[in-house]
Subunit: 565 residues, 2 copies
């Protein structure tokens, strides 16, 4: 044991597409590794055609013999969405609270992956041992039920990892963040606090989720027609409030959209959602009720074009449509990058004659993350020796680190890391202990990691300028062009109106081949370069564009049937 005490604790930050440690962190001590979260993110604008982005598992694969457990802090995609992919690579028991485990099991079943032996449900407040780590979960509030932070007692010292959190003094389920445990950890002495930085640039306190309930109550009681509510499908507490206040207002609730239906099913089955008797109806039945007796609870809060709400707004959804007199409540803010999609949906809803409640000042959305005053409270409660801001973009980490310094944590004890960094802690110091692979691993269709920077760069050029293919056939024996050159394009110009341009382009290629001379036609690289140069220059002069140019040369000879490119 004393040997162990000598060893340092390492923390590796892996996944998060710019948000540090958001999707995955790995704690290491001696021969034991404990993973916290395995989530995925959605691609950035420039990740063309990419479906989701996974953490880089190579550090875990390399140390597969040391992996002792994976603890999931809560049921959001960016904390558990990568588990099925991870479990295809390594075997590690999973620990999660009930709702997260329920959602995960659903997901694993869909992908045909089995939960490894030793996996189990843990309750908020429960203690369990994972090799040299004594882990205790503590309850925190967030925009999904059953969310925990972790107190990880390692041989080097006690680590507190907040997970995603806010301090909601009046949470919907009545279960306040476990302030007393946090205080108790401080008494035991906390080596390092890793704390959620998402809202580190927001002053004050984040309002309680109950504020949303008040706004919904008011709308449900006063709206003169149907009410449609859209929010993140995982926000169980908000869904709970929709059910409660709909019932209070004498409205019945129809759930629309697959992910929302799934949350309601899983959360009510596991006891995280109390569904008042008789409040839920099928959409078809709701369509037959009087308008003031109806709430539609739907997916689509991010303006996703294929969501139920967007399709209802466009009149393209079979089961229901938005109409004059409806009130639509957008109980969410757009995730950065989705602003225009959301705005477009709102415009479309107004066009159909609906009233739309979307302004933040109407109180229909609150954040699930702690603002600056709550972040200070967390630091003051936990009183850590070392402080590491996590779960935020670099600007948030900097702001959060500033807060910690303001509260008296010495500058040398505050570490701002980035994904790929390994921090090493001893009781006396923190240091940068090197790097681990933390590239973004792109999933496109069935391919994991086969879309990288080369493919994305090509896609960007294709997207902006299109593609022009020029092809011709050479006779090997005579060294003459026996067919072509011909040109085909996509995404470059409107083909029907560009015949002249293409004919001229063909002439330019022919001229270039003539200039090259028959004796050099066997020199393919030279032919390709000449074709590319001549056509590229001509098209740029005439259109100002630089499409992806693909010169294709085929060769036929006496024996025929041989081809190269």
């Amino acid at each position: 044991m004393s040997k162990r005490k000598d060893q340092a604790l390492t923390v590796a930050f892996i996944g998060g597409l710019g948000e540090v440690g958001k999707n995955m962190m790995v704690f290491g001590h001696g021969d034991d590794m404990l993973i916290v979260d395995a989530g995925l993110t959605f691609p950035r604008d420039e990740d063309l055609g990419v479906d989701v982005v996974l953490p880089d598992f190579s550090y875990l694969v390399e140390h597969r013999d040391k992996l002792r457990g994976l603890v999931i802090t809560h049921g959001h995609e960016d904390h558990l969405g990568a588990v099925p992919y991870l479990l295809k690579e390594v075997e590690v028991p999973v620990y999660a609270t009930g709702l997260a485990l329920g959602l995960l099991e659903d997901k694993l079943q869909e992908q045909g992956v089995r939960l490894p032996a030793g996996s189990r449900r843990v309750s908020p407040g429960e203690k369990f041992t994972v090799a040299c780590f004594a882990v205790e979960t503590f309850r925190v509030n967030h925009s999904i039920a059953d969310c925990v932070g972790l107190a990880i007692d390692s041989p080097t010292g006690l680590v507190v990892h907040t997970g995603d959190f806010k301090f909601d003094q009046t949470p919907v389920d009545g279960k306040v963040s476990d302030l007393h445990r946090l205080a108790e950890y401080a008494q035991r002495g906390v080596l390092v606090l890793l704390s959620d930085s998402t809202n580190a640039d927001r002053p004050g306190f984040t309002p309680s989720e109950k504020q949303v309930g008040k706004a919904l109550d008011e709308i449900f009681r006063t709206a003169s027609g149907r009410v449609l509510v859209t929010t993140f499908a995982s926000n169980v507490h908000r869904i709970q409030q929709v059910l409660w206040f709909a019932r209070k207002a004498g409205r019945r609730v129809a759930v629309v959209g697959r992910s929302m239906e799934r949350t309601v099913e899983v959360a009510s089955r596991l006891g995280y959602l109390e569904v008042p008797e008789g409040v839920l109806v099928e959409v078809e039945e709701a369509n037959r009720l009087r308008d003031t007796g109806v709430v539609l609870l739907t997916t689509g809060s991010q303006g996703e074009p294929l969501s139920a709400l967007a399709r209802m707004a466009n009149g393209e959804y079979r089961r229901a449509e938005v109409r004059q007199g409806d009130t639509v409540v957008i109980a969410a803010t757009p995730v950065p990058g989705n602003e225009r999609l959301v705005a477009r949906t709102i415009d479309q809803l107004f066009r159909r004659g609906a009233e739309v409640v979307y302004e933040a000042h109407r109180g229909v959305h609150v954040s699930g993350h702690a603002s600056r005053e709550e972040l200070k409270l967390m630091i003051n409660l936990v009183k850590p020796r070392f402080f590491v801001p996590i779960h935020g973009h670099y600007r948030h980490l900097v702001r959060h680190a500033e807060l910690a310094r303001e509260l008296g944590i010495p500058d040398r004890n505050v570490a701002v890391a980035e994904n790929g960094v390994v921090l090493e802690f001893t009781p006396d110091r923190v240091r940068d202990a090197g790097r681990v692979p933390a590239e973004n691993v792109m999933v496109d269709g069935l391919g994991i990691g086969d879309v990288g920077s080369v493919v994305l760069r090509d896609r960007l050029q294709l997207a902006q300028e299109g593609v022009v293919v020029v092809f011709l056939v050479l006779d090997r024996t005579s060294q003459k062009v026996v067919a072509g050159p011909d040109i085909v394009s996509r995404g470059f110009v409107y083909v029907r109106e560009a015949e002249g341009l293409m004919n001229e382009g063909r002439q330019k290629v022919e001229e270039a081949l003539r200039r090259l001379g028959p004796q050099r036609l066997g020199d393919w690289p030279a032919v390709k370069a000449a074709v590319r140069d001549a056509l590229g220059r001509f098209l740029h002069e005439r259109t100002g564009r630089r499409p992806v140019l693909l010169p294709l040369i085929l060769e036929v000879g006496e024996e025929r049937g041989i081809v190269a490119q």
Copy 2:
């Protein structure tokens, strides 16, 4: 004259990419047409590769004999950026206030277009006649100097067009919006008010531009190093405040970035910017001054990757760089769609050790558009018979129309239009009088309008899935495949790691050709369909992707040299 009075006034809403009448409106009476503004917008995410979007000029071209004048309300791109393009199509005299005209002349010179005869500068408050329209400009406040609204006295009645506006009670140049004229119009009787709806969903009043000055003053006085300020290059009043408060704090100002340099040059030459003696320095000189004596005023407030600020943040700008101890003030909010770019720049600035002031609550940015209380004030001042909300997305128009009804304008007198609509007014009623072409005209490189929905759809598929070209050569006489099939791809998979996939794909194509049988090889549509089907299905099965598939078939025969595709 009495005949004229009988005629109706028409208003056509043309340009704006979803924002109604934002880039262009056309007033018509009898044989006279008056254009208000000719601006451009920047493309949406899905307008892949498009540089700018122009209004559809075809209504103007069709009625070129009726065009009497083009009045520009202010110097922003979305109100005058399309003038050079328009003047290449039609001849119409341009009326604009000094700063707008100065910026426009700069732009015209660059594009080699001459200002038509009869064009002239008009002062705020000036009256001038354009055929049957007696036009009077009235001063309004906005985020650029020298901004006006228009009172257009037509034979049908008096029209008030606010342009972009806010009511700033303490404007930087001391020139308050002309409340008295607005009151006077009301006394004369206003037929219709067309009013800026941009902020129709913001409660209260928009703060004064001077608030930004206060924040800058504080920062310039207290920052312990250099201060970098970025804002919209056209915001002359904000630039003015930077110069004033820099001087007050004993700092000299270096202007960085072409568009910012141009504004400072034009605005100071025309007297819209008062440059205190000796306050401006070259960047190279600023680099030699003590840090607390320097302000860098730079472009890049939207995170544009090629802007001076983004390049300084990345250490890629030759003349200056951001370093530890700098304070960077982002005096702007992201235009929707730019959020991630701006966030990335901020992260990068923090990484270089700069302090960044970007939060709205720090007071370093205010909107240039009126909020709800100001919109009410405008309606109450002008007291129009008819009300038409303009300059906003549909949701803003609906909100603004609600306001007008709340203030007592009868429902039948409030018209919410969209681009492409023509409204017709008589003294007694407003009606929908049909449609005019109002498609978005895309400019990509040198091409205007040659990128349409087909090209954009292809680009989107290319962007998301890449392109796969499969090509082969047929012998016309023997009806045999004499070369190929071969496959080339871009943006689909990483080629070096996908050789096996491509080989298998080739085999699938060969099998498909065999199944088709030699007698059908002359039937090109059948060959293409067979190749496309076989390869498309195989690639989708193996990768889950559906790339753009281009099957190319070349034919050679006895005579050789003939080709078709």
